[in-house]
Each structure stands twice: as C-alpha cells, then as structure tokens.
C-alpha cells in the first residue's frame, strides 16, 4: 500500500485538537426530572449495555478520532498495488551495458544498473504468483539466465548474479532473442529495463516484435556527464636513463567546460603503484584534450587515473599502459665467431656477450645479467662439461648445430620448405636459400620441441619449451648457408630472440572487456589463471575483488575471453606440476563506444510491435496505472459508517 499524497499526513494534527476539545468540553447541565421511567422508554437498550457503561464516556471521542483518522487517510490518497493482471509469459530483459554503470548523486550514488535491478525486483513482486518469467541479460551474446520460472525467490537470486557488461553489447540481439522466446505465447510481453543508451538503437528499432514491449526507462534516461581517458601511451626514453614520457588524451562528455587532475602511477616489477607524475587537463564541453607527463621512471606498467570533474561513469577513469619497447635483453653468444649473427642480434635489440667455447664459463656474477644463451656449435662438448652444463640448464638455450659430413648429417633431397604456424617462423619462407647439410639430432634430444620448419623433408628448426624455458635448435650452420645474405635473416633472428625472451616479459597489452583475444601459451601450460591486480569498473560488489583468481578457459584454440570487468589482470600459466611458468599482464578496458555520447539524448527506442496495434509502450503504462487501486473510496465509506455509529451513540446518549 502506498500514498499518493503523504504530505496530507499533517492533517493528522487534527486528532490531538479533537482530544483537546473533548477535554475542554462543556459538561452536561444537571436537570432533575421525576423519574427516568418514561425517558428510558425513549432511550432504549439501556440495561443491555450495562457492562459497557464504563466505555461509553469515551465512545464519542474514540469514534470521532477514528472518523478523523479515516478522513486523513482518505486525504493521503492511499492505493493498493494489486497484483498486475497481465498474464502470459514475460521476458525480463536487463540492459547491462557499460553506460548503465553511471551513478549520479541524485540517486544516492547508486548506479543505474543497481536501480534497474531494484526496479526489476519490484516488478517481479507485483506479478501474479504463477506467471512464468524468463530473465535475459544482454551482452556480447544474450544470455538466458533462467527460463519460465515462477518462483520469485529464484528469480531474484538470478537477478543478483547479473553483473555489468563492459564490452560491446548486442542489445538488439537480446531483444530479438527475448521476442523469439515468447513465440507461441499469446499474451507474452518483454519487460525491458534500460537507460536507453543503445549503440545499436537503430538496429533495435528495425526489429518487428511479435510480443508487447513494456519499456521501463531507468533514471528517466537523463543525460550523463562523463570524463574519460581515451588514450594513454608511454614513450620510452631512448637513452635508457629512465625518463619516460606519458601522453594522455582526455575527453569531456559533460555539459560544461572543466578541469580535471590526471595522475600517473608507475609500478616497478613486483612493486606497488607509486605516484610518478601529475597533470591538470582543461577541456571544453564535448572536446578532448591531450597532456604529456615526463620524467617517469622505468616500470613494468603505468596507470593513468583522472580525478574530479563532473564525472558519473567510473569505468573509464583509469587506463593502463606498458612500455612500448621491452628493456634490452642480454644473450651469451658462445661462438668461435659469427659476425652475421652478432649484427642481427644487435638489430633485434639483443646485447650479445661473446665468449669462446674453449674458455671457462662466465662467473656467477656475469651469468646474472644473462637472459639466454646461444650455443653456436660445440653443443655436445659443452653440455658434457660440468660447469657449462650447470649454466646451460639454468637459462633458455638456442642451439645452432655445425653438422660435419658423416652419419649424423644429412643432405636435403630437394629445396622445398614447409613451415608451421609458429611465432619463430612467421613471415619466413627460406625462398632461394640453399642449405647443404643438416644435423640429425636424436629424437629424445629434441623431444621438448616441434619441428617448425623443414627443409627438403629434414627438420631445420625446432622450437619449444624445456623446463619452463624457451628452447630453439637450428640444425644447420648459418655460416654454411646463404641465409645470412637473405633479407628475411634479420626477421628470423628478431623472432627467434623474441621467442627466446620467452614472452614472460612480453605483456599481453590491452583488450576490451570480454573480447576474444589471441594469445600463445607455452606448450607445457596445463592451466592458466587470471589474477586480478586492480579493478577499474563501477565498483559493484558483484564485480569481484582485487587479488582473486579465475581459471581461464583453455578449450578454445588460441582464443581466450578477456576478463569482463575493466582493470589490470595477470595471466599466470602453470605447467603440469603446478609451477608458474609465465605471467603476463593484460589491461582490460570498457568498450569506448558504449561510454561515449552519454551526454546526448539517446535515440528513442521504439521497435515496431507487430501484434499490439495500440503500441506496447502505452499499453504497459496503462497496465501500471491499473495495478494501482485507489483505496480512497473505502476510507470514505468506512468513515461514513463510523460517523453513523457515532450519531447512534450520540442519539442514544451513551455518553456518561
């Protein structure tokens, strides 16, 4: 029960006034008469009410108070929210696109998404107990959470599991799915809770719906003020002095010009975020503006955060960036001299540390700075050397055979080259390349990898991971081929260097929420886990917490779904033994299209309803009004009854 005019409750002040009047009331005039005999005949039923005599003195007062109370009640305009008479199945469609995460101070800091859930719960409460309700959540793909359920508790529980969707929502598809779910249900209706900001509103409006559409606009589709980071990039200092520069572009989607503070945080490897620089950006309404922040230290990743301004959407206030060039790697080149390789490594950004295979292995101090090792020949000899073996097993190893004519060598029958789809050999064709001799290592020696390139039917390049460390093996001598003279040689060396660097330092970059990303996992990876480093969504409790882990689905071939809430995540790969073999960072952002143009009035969502001629929208409104039954007439009727009773009491003189 609700009241249309709760302010009328002030009229209840009349109650104490009446009581006061009773207290101040003039007493009855004493008049002596000979006998009650005759009066009693007029004032009948005196005897029958004797036990109630004590009460009588208050009857008039009590009845009057009751009558006044009812009058006040009638003035307050009570109404009963009766169970909606709508029958037939219903599909509850919740818009959970990123724009729904806007929170305005008017709503007490509650997001539109939460408002929509509350309204949906209320709507469920109003429905008849046996109405079958299906809940559909919009998203990249519409999702049916529960189908034809009439248990309200279960429906509400399912509502609670919905989280905002920060990717690109296909609302039209959700609407279309809802409509088809109602196929065959004559009186079914789609109940849509949305803020009206649809990136695909035009597409939605083209739909011809069979079922009636009951549109519940959230927060009256008011314009939303927003400041967003639309670009954040880090330019590394070429000199390597740790003086990196960040460029941030900010868009002002509010009604007025304003200034916001931009803070840049830097996180060192394994360290905490530390404020590294600040800037202030002024932008006119609807414009974007860039700012540079220099003097940033080297870091694994950077975070830009905007503060202040008329900002109602928090999902686009933070952005992450990784240094554009990874820091220089150092490789130990164990070779008797290979100038081509040396130069190619330098081109690939690898600093080669040359050492002769005849010499002693480098000291532990020197080995510290080495990222990986290239063995250019003398593989077996060094492997059998105790000190060398220790060093070799501790680092990723790139072996290059120097096959001699003999049993272990083979000559190719033809020059046909077959490559596998592998990062090391992408773009590599070995066209016009002649290689005369190949080493044929034993099968168990190369069991760690796969043949990614065969030359004339002989494996030429093995690539793989051994003990969590990348391994490469070229079964031919570079210097005995004309490969170093080919233009693809530097490319091969760059890709090989990247492979040797193992991706463990290569971050995953950034992706949109729930976007499918392609990423190569290590071959020994059994399980991959997303660890939440930071969340930058709307901050709803259902979005999860910092530090929690979620197992990634590895069933898709190379396609992985990015986490669904904006923020920074770490993909941790684990091998069979459960050891973490690699970890890479992924910055997840909300879909920019969903969050842009929120300040403009959204396009009117009005899909054609083929069935209801009057239009589902107005029919739904009528339905809402009909569910509200006015109780004023009852209050008035009851009051008249009370007043009749009061008159009867007055007339019979039950007042002393």
């Amino acid at each position: 029960m609700g009241f249309l005019s709760a302010a009328s409750a002030w009229f209840a002040l009349a109650l104490p006034a009446i009581a006061a009047m009773y207290i101040l009331k003039r007493t009855y005039e004493n008049t002596e008469i000979s006998s009650h005999l005759l009066w009693r005949r007029v004032l009948q039923e005196q005897e029958a009410n004797r036990p109630w005599q004590r009460l009588r003195s208050r009857w008039l007062l009590l009845l009057q108070l009751l009558a006044t109370l009812l009058l006040v009640l009638a003035l307050m305009g009570p109404y009963m929210k009766g169970a909606s008479h709508a029958s037939g199945d219903a599909v509850l469609l919740i818009d959970r696109s990123a724009s729904m995460t806007a929170r305005s101070a008017e709503n007490g800091g509650v997001t539109r998404f939460e408002l929509a859930l509350r309204q949906a719960e209320r709507w469920i409460d109003e429905q008849a107990g046996n109405r079958a309700i299906t809940i559909v959540a919009a998203g990249a793909l519409p999702e049916v959470l529960v189908a034809k359920e009439s248990n309200k508790a279960e429906l509400k529980r399912q509502l609670g599991t919905i989280v905002p969707f920060y990717g690109k929502s296909d609302n039209a598809a959700a609407l279309s799915l809802s409509d088809s779910l109602l196929q065959g249900s004559a009186e079914g209706s789609i109940v849509l809770f949305t803020d009206g900001h649809w990136t695909d509103a035009a597409e939605g409006n083209k739909l011809g719906l069979q079922a009636a559409l009951d549109l519940h606009p959230i927060d009256d589709e008011k314009p939303v003020s927003n400041w967003a980071i639309i670009y954040f990039g880090i330019a590394s200092d070429p000199s390597g002095a740790g003086d990196n520069t960040a460029t941030i572009t900010v868009r002002n989607d509010s009604a007025s010009e304003g200034t916001i503070a931009v803070e840049i945080y830097a996180a060192a490897d394994g360290g905490e975020l530390q404020l590294a620089g600040e800037a202030s950006v002024n932008a006119a309404a609807g414009e974007w503006q860039s700012a540079d922040v220099g003097g940033l230290p080297d870091a694994r990743y950077y975070k830009a955060l905007i503060r202040g301004g008329d900002d109602e959407v928090t999902a686009d206030n933070a952005m992450y960036a990784f240094p554009s060039v990874p820091r220089t790697t150092t490789a130990l080149l164990v070779s008797e001299g290979n100038l081509f390789l040396e130069k190619a490594l330098l081109l690939a950004g690898v600093k080669p540390v040359k050492i002769s295979p005849d010499g002693a292995p480098p000291s532990a101090e020197q080995a510290e700075s080495i990222d990986w090792i290239i063995l250019d020949g003398s593989i077996d000899r060094l492997r059998n050397d105790k000190e060398w073996a220790k060093l070799l097993t501790a680092h990723p190893l790139w072996m290059i055979d120097h096959p001699e004519a003999g049993d272990a060598a083979a000559a190719p029958a033809h020059t046909r080259v077959e490559t596998k789809d592998h990062p090391v050999v992408s773009y590599i064709t070995f066209a016009d390349t002649f290689i005369g001799r190949f080493a044929k290592p034993a099968v168990e020696e190369v069991s760690w990898g796969e043949q990614v390139l065969t030359y004339g039917g002989i494996p030429a390049i093995y690539a793989g991971v051994s003990g969590g460390k990348p391994q490469l093996r070229f079964t031919f001598d570079l210097q005995n081929s004309d490969l170093p003279l080919r233009p693809e040689f530097p490319v091969l060396i760059v890709q090989a260097s990247e492979w040797m660097s193992g991706g463990s330092r290569q971050e995953l970059g950034s992706a949109e929420a729930d976007q499918h990303i392609e990423l190569a996992l290590r071959s020994d990876t059994e399980q991959a886990v997303w660890e939440t480093i930071e969340l930058a969504g709307a901050g709803l409790p259902s979005e999860g917490t910092k530090g929690e882990t979620r197992i990634a689905d590895l069933s898709g071939s190379g396609q992985f779904a990015a986490p669904s809430v904006p923020g920074l995540y770490k993909l941790i790969e684990r091998n069979k033994a459960g050891e973490a073999t690699a970890e890479r960072l992924l910055a997840v952002t909300a879909n920019a299209a969903e969050l842009s143009g929120l300040h403009a009035k959204p396009e009117q969502l009005n899909p054609a309803v083929l069935q209801g001629e009057a239009g589902g929208d107005s029919a739904a409104n009528n339905d809402a009004a009909a569910g509200r039954q006015s109780l004023v007439i009852w209050a008035v009727l009851f009051m008249l009854l009370v007043m009749a009773a009061e008159w009867e009491v007055y007339r019979r003189g039950y007042t002393s």
Binding site: Y28, N30, T31, E32, S35, V42
Partner: protein, 327 residues
Amino acid sequence: MNAESGAVQGPRMTSEEALKLLFPDASVLSRLERLRFSAGNRIKGTLAGKRRSSQLGGSQEFADYRPYSPGDDIRRIDWNVYGRTGRAFMRQYWDEQELQAHLYVDVSRSMQYGEGAANKAAYALRLAAAVGYAALCAEDRVSVTLYSSGIEESLPLLRGRASSAKLFQFAAEAISERERASSVPDSEPALSVSNMAEPFLKPGSLPRRSGTAWLFTDAMFEEGIEEALLAFAAAGQKVALIHMLSPEEEDPTYSGELRLIDSELRTGKEVAVGHRLLADYRAAVDGYKEELKRICAERGVDYYFVSTAVPLHETISGLLAAGLLRG
C-alpha cells in the same frame, strides 16, 4: 405564598390558613357541596347513611319479596299479598348506609416534581381535599392516607361536614411539609420506590370495609401497578386511579445536552435533546397513558388523567364528566 411561608413557621396552622393554602379560590367549595362520589354498590358502612347499601336493611326503598320463615319480624309481612294468595311473604328493603371513601395520595419523591401550583403532590393533596370535602358534604366517611414506600401518614375516617376543617388542615400541613422538605437540598438518597404494591401489602394498610378508594399517583413505578390494583379490589374497593403528570413531564421543553437526574434513584443520564427525541418522548408518555388505561379497564378500575397545569375546578368538572363524581 405568604400563607404558605407562614404555615411553615408554626407547628400547626389555623383552619383559615389551611383553607387559604388549599383553595385560594374558595368558590370551588360551594360547587363541591353539591357533588358526591359515584360509588357503585360497594357501600358497607357502619352507620346509616344516605347511600343505598348492597345489604338489605331498613330503608324505605323496596328491594324484594321472600317467603316467610318462622322467626321473621311479622311487621314486614305483606298483608296484601297474603290476602290475595293466602301465603305469607316478607317484604325486603335496601339498607341505606354511609359510603367509606379512602383517598390514597402518593407523596414519593417523584410526586414532588412540578413548579408551584403545578407541583404534583400539592395538586394531589388539593384535589384529595376537594373530593374529600364533597364526600363529607354528602354524609360519607372519608379517610386520607399519604404513602411513598410505606404508609407515611394517615387521617382516620372523618364524618360529617364539620370534620372538613380537620381534612383541610391535614392536607395543608402535608403540602407545607413537603415544600419544606423539597426546599432542603437532597438530604439523603431516598429509598427507591419502584414497586407500587409495596406499601399496600403491609397489614392494616388497606381499608377493612368495602368502599371506594382513590389513588392519586404519577404511576412512576417500574412494577406493581396491577398488583396494587388487585389488592384494592380484593379489599372490596371500587378503585379510581387518578394519574397525575406535571406539564413539564407531559411536554418537556428541554433542549441541549442535559444530564437528567432521576429524583428517586439520583442517577444521571446524559442526553442530547432534540426535536426528534422530544417527539419520541411525547409518544412514550401517550403510550404509557394508554397502557395504564388498558390495565385499569381490564380490572374494572376507573382511570382518569390529570395534568397539573389544568386548574382545579376544571379537573373537578372533568371528574364529573367522567362519572367519577356525581352532581
């Protein structure tokens, strides 16, 4: 009023004062001298009177013949009949006796109601004195008894016109005594008199000889009206119920919110008086009168309603017209 206040002072009032108090207009007395009770046949006095008794006796009025039986007074043999038939028949005559009239005046608290001359008790005593005087003038014997919850006071049988002074004095003193009592603010909660028969069920309260009994009352009794009338009839009385109501009781002019206090029970009843309620009340009064009339008719009792607003001489004319008094 001066006479009254004077009467209050002295222990006894003179007959002149009493007469003035009772009958400010003395002309009514001369009219009363010509009236007498209509008493039916229940006349059984002790002395010879002017009334034909229901007994046979020595008057000049022939009643019947009866066969002679030995021992009869031979002076009463009708010799003419004996001459014609040869058989002796006795002539019988009606006896003529005086009438015993008993006047019972209700002086309960409810009877004290009414202003001045319209006071019911005073009016009842005046009326009793008037009819008593008429009876004395008609050579009948008269007694006056005042009762409320019991017999309060009584004047023994009086005879002859000379006794009228005694009657007047008794009535006048009773009036002034009641007035004095009612001027004192409610002394004690009076005993509730709700049964009319109660005083008459006590031994010696009813007349021993048959005669006529007049009850002057406002009949404000919950019960016992039939019982009382029956007791009088059983005592051989020809009963007349003189029902008295003051004008304020008959047609009240109250208005507003009142607390009506019962003069006998002292209980209050708060009433908002309106036109409709007054109309209902008047209907109730009429209904009660009708009820009393019916009760009386069923028991051969004469009923006469007196409003104390009506002057005494008009009431006497009314009694005459109703046949309770005869010219």
